[in-house]
């Protein structure tokens, strides 16, 4: 199977003896949106810099669409769009001038460049700013402009390194929406972030990296089912009486009850069928149920479970 992005035992050692990557092997299928998470200094940006030809690995290989990035960077980088960290921009140019240059670098024709500039600037909501100096742009606009540059040549693969870093909530929402759009268009997206909420929102698979090593790689569905807590939180209309609490304890599928005012956490075996049965029993026993939530741990809890609490690189 040909992967969109694949690495084989990537190792990156710096001259001062620091090992940033220690045998990282990744396999990302075409059309997947994959989150790459880990604490600061875990090696996320180093991996991305190797994938985009900015750094050479000490050993190992990185492939994009089956092309070795180190051996054949020109061909490999033609299929990649990348946004790495917070790149500098050419303040004194306009988006049109900047994107025209990169369009020529990608060997696009004049007409194609003009068409794609209009299209991408519209996508990132910068159409009105096409001929304005970049130096006047806000942080969010700059980030959207660098995303426009990354997708100008319609790459198969999009590599985003901390794309929402330093953005306000509106900017974060914009970037998230763009990633969803890219996913719907069938683009492979490799998203590095330390913001787990962002990753959980848009990614189908998450790779966890710590101290230069991959510690876990799972689909969001697997992570979700792994982290089910075998508990259901029920909110009632009124605080429960002593008799009502006893009634709850009497439900055969419930192994424990923890009541607090008008809410109760019911422990059970975690099976979906059992959850349905418990809800039916509550309704048939005339409990006034306001809400009924099967509690599931988030990506944060999973992150802590695979990384170990407080064991990040920094």
């Amino acid at each position: 199977m040909e992967y969109a992005i694949r690495t084989e035992n990537l190792v990156k050692r710096y001259s001062k003896g620091f090992t940033a990557l220690d045998g990282v092997s990744l396999q990302i299928r075409k059309g997947e949106v994959v989150g790459y998470v880990g604490p600061n200094g875990a090696g996320k940006t180093t991996t991305i810099k190797i994938l985009t030809g900015l750094l050479k690995p000490s050993s190992g290989h990185a492939y994009v669409n089956g092309i070795d990035v180190t051996a054949n960077p020109r061909e490999a980088l033609r299929t990649i769009g990348a946004l790495i960290e917070v790149p500098g921009v050419y303040d004194y140019l306009t988006p049109h001038e900047m994107l025209s240059y990169f369009g020529k670098v990608y060997r696009m024709s004049g007409g194609e460049i003009d068409h794609r500039i209009k299209e991408t600037l519209e996508l990132v909501r910068l159409s009105d700013w096409e001929h304005k100096k970049i130096g006047t742009f806000s942080t969010g606009m700059l980030r959207r402009l660098t995303i426009a540059k990354a997708i100008l040549h319609k790459p198969d693969n999009l590599i985003l390194d901390e794309p929402v870093l330093g953005l306000d909530p509106e900017g974060i929402r914009d970037v998230r929406e763009l990633i969803r759009q890219f996913r719907n268009e069938g683009m492979t997206v490799f998203l590095s972030s330390h913001l787990l909420g962002e990753v959980a929102e848009v990614c189908s698979t998450v790779i966890f990296l710590n101290k230069g090593k991959v510690v876990s790689s799972d689909s969001m569905d697997t992570i979700g089912s792994t982290m089910e807590r075998k508990a259901v939180d029920v909110k009632f209309l009124k605080p429960l009486s002593r008799e009502e609490i006893e009634k709850l304890r009497a439900i055969e599928l419930v192994s424990g009850v923890d009541v607090n005012d008008n809410t109760a956490r019911l422990l059970y075996d975690g099976k979906p069928e059992s959850s349905v049965q418990i809800l039916r029993r509550l309704v048939s026993s005339n409990f006034d149920v306001v809400s009924y939530n099967v509690e599931s741990a988030g990506l944060e809890d999973y992150y802590v479970s695979v990384m170990g609490e407080g064991k990040g690189s920094n």
Binding site: K49, L54, R74, G88, V89, V105
Partner: protein, 266 residues
């Protein structure tokens, strides 16, 4: 064979795109405009005291060409390499299907072309002045040789600053260090060698004296200083050696600057 030819064609095109982009950058940041304005204004100062012959007038005007070339080299080549890393624009330009060597070669060529343009402008203004003051027929034929020498010195100066741009981390540092190296350090070494009766033939600023020497006349400016230095041994750069030295500085500076640029990592 076909692949190699295809790669070379791509490299040449990428270098051309980089040159064009840099020249656009110079014009947008008004750098080119400022230096070009200097190239036009400086020769006009010499209307104040017009000598008897066109040769002496040209020698007077050309007294300042070396300084202008060094300023131009520092302004255009100072940020050629380190500016890309310092401003993090490398994160935009490097992950694209072009070699870094093409990007940096383009930046070097653009700095060279901009400095050539400034020199050309300076000579054109001077020629128009001579034609206006002394008539077209009075234009010294040696000015062609002088112009050629000025281009060689431009290449050497741009390469020296380009080297510092590859060596240092900040644009401001490489601009200042490059300027001071060419204007002060080399001049001091040249002066010291002259005082100990050694010809400073390998110093590029000494070779640059050929720009006015080839005219065969002396400038009427600074005669007091010349009298003060009359006790020192008088060396005159040899044309062939001078050109070779300037060429050597140009090649070594460029190659060393490029090697440093390609070794730089984020």
């Amino acid at each position: 064979m076909e692949i190699a030819r295809h790669n070379i064609r791509n490299d040449v095109l990428d270098t051309y795109l980089s040159v064009k982009f840099e020249l656009m950058r110079y014009s947008k940041t008004r750098r080119l405009l400022i230096i070009a304005a200097l190239a036009i204004i400086i020769p006009l100062i010499f209307y104040v005291k017009v000598p008897d012959t066109a040769g002496v007038f040209a020698a007077n005007v050309l007294t300042f060409i070396n300084v202008l070339i060094v300023i131009s080299a520092a302004m255009f080549a100072g940020d050629a390499v380190c500016g890309e890393f310092e401003k993090k624009t490398n994160l935009l330009s490097f992950p694209t299907p072009q070699r870094r060597s093409s990007i940096f070669a383009g930046k070097y060529i653009a700095a060279l072309l901009a400095t050539f343009l400034v020199v050309l402008l300076y000579y054109v203004v001077m020629l128009l002045q001579i034609a206006q003051l002394y008539g077209w027929g009075a234009i010294p034929t040696e000015l062609g040789k002088s112009f050629l020498t000025a281009l060689f010195f431009s290449a050497a100066a741009v390469s020296v600053v380009y080297f510092f741009s590859g060596l240092l981390k900040r644009s401001i540092s490489s601009t200042i260090v490059g300027f001071l190296f060419l204007m002060v350090v080399l001049r001091v070494v040249q002066e010291i060698l002259t005082r100990v009766n050694q010809e400073p033939w390998f110093i590029v600023t000494y070779s640059a004296d050929l720009i006015t020497n080839v005219l065969g006349v002396s400038s009427s400016l600074g005669s007091g200083r010349r009298e003060a230095l009359s006790t020192l041994p008088a060396f005159t750069p040899h044309f062939g050696v001078g050109i070779a030295v300037m060429l050597a500085y140009a090649i070594i500076g460029f190659v060393a600057g490029m090697a440093l640029a390609l070794r730089k990592e984020d």
